[in-house]
């Protein structure tokens, strides 16, 4: 079935938009219903919700594994799990969180839902490819979960899968093969999402939506899409090579046949470091949308933000081996300089977020609290990252809990940013607001829990506690800090319960949101909540990066951002 999509401006309808008209008048569908409807949908909104829900389920699964890990570490000689089970736990925790939650939530969940809305498009550029990418992701999820039931258990070589731990001798059984298979499936799913994002943003923007009028979130998704296309093929290729090593007798990563185990690390991190930004940029974009709305100010330094995003992405291509400083086989000054340089554009971003809040009329809604929490937590993770970019400091802390705490500050910042996105765009997706009280309770537990969870890790790392140890009988003095870390992890777990309670409460006592509950500025707030099939019955004129704001507040045009403002607004610029 195919729909020919026509585009209308608001004058062709009635004066105040197509909001009042029945969203389903125009494109009524008599397609399949029930399960078949879900299986056959190519609507980016349905796919986006599928992605979001699936990835949040994986967040809960990965979080449960983390709670078991923290429970094991409460005492120096705990016997809650065996050493082998502990290896499986941290491997699956990392794999599920990175491959199945953070990435898909960031670049395929909310992005799938929002990017077409923000650029004024009826759908993603390739709707069937988009659907395929979700089915591949779901297959990857099922494959990864299947490995829990494999003989010999799931993969146990860490989420980075370093050679030679992954060889057929060191990691026998189907668990590691299922891990490889799951990553192949999600890898292709990510590549297809990247293609779709870039094509949608290049080809389906509404008239007047020039590149430099796109919302920061859409900009970040464009750059994320390009990074996916540069990075993911390398991981997928490396996985194919690993599979060949395990089953077809090649020796690409095995010393015995003349291979190079370090090659795996090069290939893995050539994907893995851009991946960090593939994960982070979407959340940078989310808080960049939330902070201006609740500060009642336009984004401070819009162009600076865009160029900072582009610079971060470009630099991320040249920093992979800072994960390999202690291998003794990489060019230390080169990777140190490149890694330290990334602090500059990231600093610009944090400066711009603070500049946006500066002297604004800040409303402390849940979404805003989560955004501020994101900035603070990401700052902590970023600054400790600058320490680690220096080889002498990295030699001292490599593979200790300092590194673990560093990247958990970063990724927990992303989880906090994800919550900002859920509270901010939830009303657009469902038509109903989430409960603010539960939201704030969730924020305080999540934000404080994150700090209580990570800070002891920095100390433990400096004291010398190595990552991935299940017991520490020779250092009983580490117990207090480990116990605090576990308290933090429990607080984070409670915050997740609050989110689920909030979903239930908001579902039982719905608070209708209306089309634009936050008086926000992006094009997604112009259409109804939830948007009709193919998104827009009409479009406003787009004369700045805040089209919906301009339409609802003609007395306060969002001007003054320099040369990207023109057209009929020019006469107002002059004064």
């Amino acid at each position: 079935m195919t729909d020919l999509i026509e585009r209308h401006d608001i004058e062709q309808f009635d004066d105040h938009g197509g909001h009042e008209t029945n969203p389903h008048d125009d494109h009524e569908h008599h397609g399949p219903s029930g399960l078949l409807k879900w299986l056959t949908s190519t609507d980016h909104k349905v796919i986006g919700i599928n992605y979001t829900v699936t990835s949040i389920v994986m967040l809960v699964v990965g979080g449960a594994l983390a709670e078991i890990i923290r429970a094991q570490l409460v005492s120096p000689t705990s016997t809650l799990v065996s050493f082998a089970q502990y290896n499986q736990l941290f491997t699956m925790h990392g794999s599920i969180m990175i491959y199945l939650f953070a990435g898909p939530f960031a670049f395929a969940g909310l992005a799938n839902y929002l990017v077409p809305l923000q650029v004024g498009a009826p759908d993603m550029a390739f709707p069937r490819l988009n659907a395929l990418s979700y089915w591949l992701y779901l297959s990857g999820v099922i494959t990864m979960v299947l490995s829990f039931f494999a003989t010999g258990g799931p993969a146990a070589f860490g989420w980075v899968g370093y050679a030679p731990l992954t060889s057929a001798v060191n990691a026998p059984g189907v668990g590691p093969d299922l891990w490889i298979g799951a990553l192949l499936l999600t890898g292709f799913s990510a590549i297809f999402s990247g293609v779709n994002l870039v094509a949608t943003i290049f080809y389906l923007r509404a008239p007047g939506m020039t590149l430099f009028r796109m919302p920061i979130f859409t900009w970040n998704m464009l750059v994320t899409g390009i990074l996916i296309l540069l990075a993911f093929p390398v991981l997928t290729a490396a996985l194919v090579m690993l599979y060949c090593d395990r089953h077809f007798g090649t020796h690409i990563f095995e010393v015995q046949g003349g291979g190079v185990p370090l090659l795996w690390q090069h290939m893995f991190w050539f994907w893995g470091h851009p991946e960090v930004y593939i994960l982070a940029l979407p959340f940078f974009g989310m808080v960049s949308e939330v902070i201006p709305v609740f500060s009642k100010k336009p984004m401070f330094g819009y162009k600076g933000m865009v160029f900072a995003t582009l610079t971060i992405a470009a630099l991320s291509l040249g920093v992979w081996a800072h994960h390999m400083f202690t291998s003794g086989a990489v060019l230390l000054p080169f990777f140190s300089i490149m890694s330290l340089l990334i602090a500059v554009p990231t600093g610009i971003k944090i400066f711009n977020w603070i500049g946006t809040m500066w002297k604004g009329q800040i409303q402390y809604t849940s979404a805003m609290l989560f955004s501020i929490g994101f900035v603070i937590t990401f700052l902590i993770g970023g600054i400790t990252g600058i320490f680690l970019a220096s080889p002498p400091l990295d030699f001292f802390t490599h593979d200790t809990y300092f590194v673990v705490a560093h990247f958990h500050s970063v990724v927990m910042a992303l989880v906090i940013g994800a919550m900002a996105g859920i509270y901010f765009w939830g009303p657009k997706i469902t038509g109903y607001k989430l409960h603010e009280g539960w939201g704030k309770a969730q924020f305080w537990f999540l934000f404080l829990g994150t700090q209580v969870f990570t800070f002891p890790g920095y100390w433990l790392g400096l004291k010398g506690m190595a990552r991935r140890m299940a017991v520490y009988p020779n250092n009983p003095s580490w117990q207090t800090l480990n116990d605090w870390s576990t308290v933090g992890a429990i607080m984070i777990g409670i915050s997740t319960l609050f989110l689920i309670i909030n979903f239930i409460v908001s579902w039982r006592k719905p608070i209708p949101a209306g089309d634009n509950p936050w008086d926000a500025s992006g094009l997604e707030w112009f259409t109804s909540s939830p948007p009709p099939h193919h998104n827009f019955l009409s479009l406003p004129p787009i004369r700045s990066e805040r089209p919906t704001w301009d339409y609802h507040h003609p007395e306060h045009p969002a001007l003054g951002h320099g040369d990207h403002v023109s057209g009929h607004a020019e006469e107002k610029v002059s004064n």
Binding site: M1, T2, D3, L4, I5, E6, R7, I10, E11, G31, L36, L39, T40, T42, D43, A121, D123, R128, A131, L132, Y134, W135, L136, L138, S139, T143, V174, D177, I180, F202, L204, A206, P207, G208, T210, I226, L230, P233, V234, Y243, H247, L263, H266, F270, L310, A314, L317, G318, A321, A329, V330, L331, F334, M338, H534, S538, I542, V565, G567, H568
Partner: protein, 132 residues
């Protein structure tokens, strides 16, 4: 059309090229150099293709002009498939394909059948539906 878009991709490619050159002559390490040259090509190939289309078409699309009215963009945006079962069939085929890598070659039978069915089905669907 597509001028700034092509510049972004070309800039990524050129930057990867500069990094590749510096890395290659300073570090003498092959794998990173090869991957950076790959990044150079992945930036330049689509970037130059878009640049070619920009040079060839010349004019600006309504979405490239800051003062375009919505009416200028009126008309058919494109044809979008509203429902299709074939992505699910193709995804299931890929799932069986991966299971075949793990559990045994016989799983390629359902895997490849589903992939083949999806190729035929999706192509036929596109023909029926017009310019998808």
């Amino acid at each position: 059309m597509l001028k700034q878009e092509s510049y972004i991709l070309i800039a990524f490619g050129i930057f990867a090229g500069i990094v590749a050159a510096v890395y290659w002559f300073w570090g003498h390490e092959d794998s990173g150099g090869v991957m950076l040259v790959g990044a150079l090509l992945l930036g330049l190939m689509p970037g130059l293709y878009y640049y070619y289309w920009y040079r060839r078409s010349g004019g600006q699309r309504p979405e490239d002009r800051p003062n375009a009215t919505v009416a200028e963009g009126a008309g058919t945006v494109d044809a979008f498939p509203s429902t299709s079962i074939w992505p699910f069939v193709l995804g299931s085929g890929c799932f069986f394909f991966v299971l075949a890598l793990v559990f045994g070659i016989w799983l390629l039978v359902p895997g490849l059948s589903l992939v083949l069915a999806a190729f035929i089905g999706a192509t036929a669907e596109s023909r029926r539906g017009g310019s998808v």
